[in-house]
């Protein structure tokens, strides 16, 4: 989780990702940020995130993103 928070901080500095639960609805992450984030996550965790996984529910908070990573790691 700490590793993920560091990646997110690099992409969007100044956001408290530990507390923020509405990253999409509050427009904190836009589609460009999502692509950058997905590229970094795939690189770091060696997983494949498809467009089907890129839905608001999976990117609402650091926690939901981490759940997605864990799920994809287990699926592999």
């Amino acid at each position: 989780m700490e590793k993920l928070l560091v990646i997110m901080q690099e992409i969007k500095p100044g956001v408290d990702f530990k507390k923020e639960n509405n990253l999409i609805e509050n427009c904190i992450l836009d589609s460009l940020d999502i692509v950058t984030l997905v590229t970094e996550i795939c690189d770091e965790y060696d997983i494949e995130i498809t467009p089907l996984d890129v839905v608001p529910e999976n990117f609402q908070s650091a926690e939901t993103i981490y759940k997605l990573i864990t799920r994809l790691q287990n699926e592999d």
Binding site: C27, L32, V35, T39, L52
Partner: protein, 529 residues
């Protein structure tokens, strides 16, 4: 059949509403299907065949894909990881054939009907460069109603079934209704199957709140379209059709009024169709979210024609930018060249296709492609120069959270959007450039007061109504932007006050609507796409 016509509002919509509420819930969807096909046949006559072909193509392809999705789901539990991969690869081949069939049929029809003359013209220009007398003949084609909209709906359905997002629908009637639901067939919003199909199929009993809120929305849409957009139309046409005769402030006013016209018209149409659906208890996706309060062009496109933007995002932007090839390229650029550029590489390529798609979708003309490219270049410049902007702001001790900076961003975005609208409305890119340059010559604020604007086909009353309408739209937008729900507030007032508001709104539409002698109702601009 125009959504603003008496035939639609007083006959078609009213009779469909009555019929819908008279039949049992279980068969209500059949009323909607019947009404939708009747609407389509009245508007497009025998061209209905094209939407039938699209419907059948996605229906049968969907079932075919689903058969293989089910086969894999059932078999995978009993297979080892290796065998699972093998089976998946084998099945993928058949699924790809089915989706290719559906996409070729749907995009093939769209390209053939909407873009064949554009391709022919472009090919002829190239042929003539080689001094050849051969030319591809022009075809006289009438476009089927809403083909640009329902094609995107159809393809989103089949792609989602292919991806396994949801199961293919076994009910042909439900697919047919999803594609040709009458309120959204002309100008959208572009619906998604998982958000719309169930709503259309379920029977909704009469609901007073849905009914009144729907009627309110219809009147709000009529206000925008008939009172504002149709009134502005004359002035805009006068200036754009004779642009060589005008300069300075006149051009600026005409561009601003065109932006007002297209917004009032398109969002007004969305209000009418959303209201038309809401009286049946069906909620369509939002297509506008106060776009002129946007503080960047990215933000603007998240608020303007939202359903087109999300379609392009989900079916072009993400698949390209998240493809293995671009992820690998990004990794290499980060490693060998520059980390910032490396992060932006996938988005840069994907956005090129998004904006080409956006421009091309709007029309078969180079000016629409230029319109898309205008936003692409601005967006890319913004992305790549972001570190530079941050450095400048930091050196000047300007924080992005400052209120005045936020207002500056809104004004900047508004100017950029208006230049985009100039490209969109002008005959071609050269005319747009000439008009833009001519705003700097003979510029004087006196144009606003010396009455010269009133020689452009509208009189003083028209101008006052337009200004009043724009002010109302601005105030309503500002209140909504601050989280204030006007409709809920009106609904909570006592019956006397509530009906005073309703009658005032009806009065404004009837009295101030631009119809009768001297006016001709303008066609919906987006209906031509």
């Amino acid at each position: 059949m125009a959504y603003t016509s008496y035939v639609y509002l007083l006959l078609f919509l009213s009779i469909t509403f009555l019929a819908y509420n008279l039949v049992p819930n279980k068969i209500k969807w059949l009323i909607l299907l019947l009404a939708s096909y009747l609407f389509y046949c009245i508007s497009s006559e025998n061209l209905v065949i094209y939407i039938v072909i699209s419907t059948l193509s996605i229906y049968f392809s969907g079932l075919f894909i689903q058969k293989f999705n089910d086969k894999f789901e059932n078999a995978k539990k009993y297979l080892s990881k290796e065998d699972r991969k093998l089976l998946k690869a084998k099945i993928a081949r058949y699924k790809k054939i089915a989706i290719a069939f559906a996409l070729i049929i749907n995009f093939g029809l769209l390209l053939n009907l909407k873009y064949c003359n554009f391709f022919a013209e472009t090919a002829n220009s190239i042929i003539h460069c080689f001094n050849s007398s051969f030319s591809i003949p022009w075809r006289n084609i009438v476009l089927p109603l809403g083909i640009s909209f329902y094609t995107l709906q159809a393809t989103s359905y089949i792609i989602d079934v292919y991806r396994g997002k949801y199961k293919a629908d076994r009910n042909l009637g439900r697919i047919a209704l999803f594609l040709c639901f009458f309120p959204q067939i002309v100008e959208g919003p572009i619906g998604r199957y998982d958000q719309l199909a169930d709503q259309l199929y379920e029977g909704h009993s009469f609901n007073y709140e849905n009914f009144t809120f729907g009627i309110q929305l219809i009147f709000w849409g009529l206000f925008k379209k008939i009172v504002i957009a149709d009134r502005v139309n004359t002035l805009v046409n006068t200036v754009f059709d004779n642009y060589v005769n005008y300069r300075g402030m006149t051009i600026i006013v005409s561009v601003l009024l065109y932006t007002l016209q297209i917004y009032a018209e398109f969002s007004g149409c969305m209000d009418i169709v959303t209201g038309s659906s809401q009286i049946f208890g069906i909620h369509l996706s939002k297509n506008f979210k106060r776009p002129f309060f946007a503080n960047s062009i990215n933000d603007f496109w998240r608020r303007w024609n939202i359903t087109l933007g999300t379609w392009l995002r989900d079916y072009i932007f993400y698949p390209i930018s998240l493809s293995k090839a671009f992820m690998k390229l990004s990794k290499n650029v980060k490693k060998h060249l520059n980390v910032h550029f490396g992060k932006l590489i996938p988005a840069t390529f994907a956005l090129l296709f998004v904006w080409l798609g956006n421009g091309f979708w709007h029309g078969a003309s180079w000016k629409y492609i230029s319109y898309g490219m205008y936003y692409y270049v601005l967006m890319i410049l913004g992305m790549f120069c972001e570190p530079l902007f941050s450095t400048i702001l930091s050196a000047l001790h300007i924080k992005r959270k400052f209120k005045w900076y936020h207002i500056f961003q809104i004004v900047r975005t508004f100017i950029i959007v208006n230049i985009g609208m100039l490209i969109f409305r002008a005959d071609d890119l050269i005319v747009a450039a000439k008009m833009l340059i001519s705003t700097f010559s003979g510029f004087t604020f006196a144009t606003l007061a010396n009455g010269s604007l009133l020689t452009l086909g509208i009189d003083k009353l028209d101008m006052q109504v337009i200004m009043f309408g724009a002010l109302v739209i601005f105030i309503v937008g500002l209140l909504q932007e601050k989280g204030y729900s006007l409709r809920q507030t009106i609904a909570s007032k006592n019956i006397v006050l509530r009906w005073c508001v309703y009658f005032t709104a009806i009065f404004f539409v009837i009295i101030l609507g631009a119809y009768g002698v001297g006016y001709s109702p303008a066609d919906f601009i987006y209906a031509q796409f």
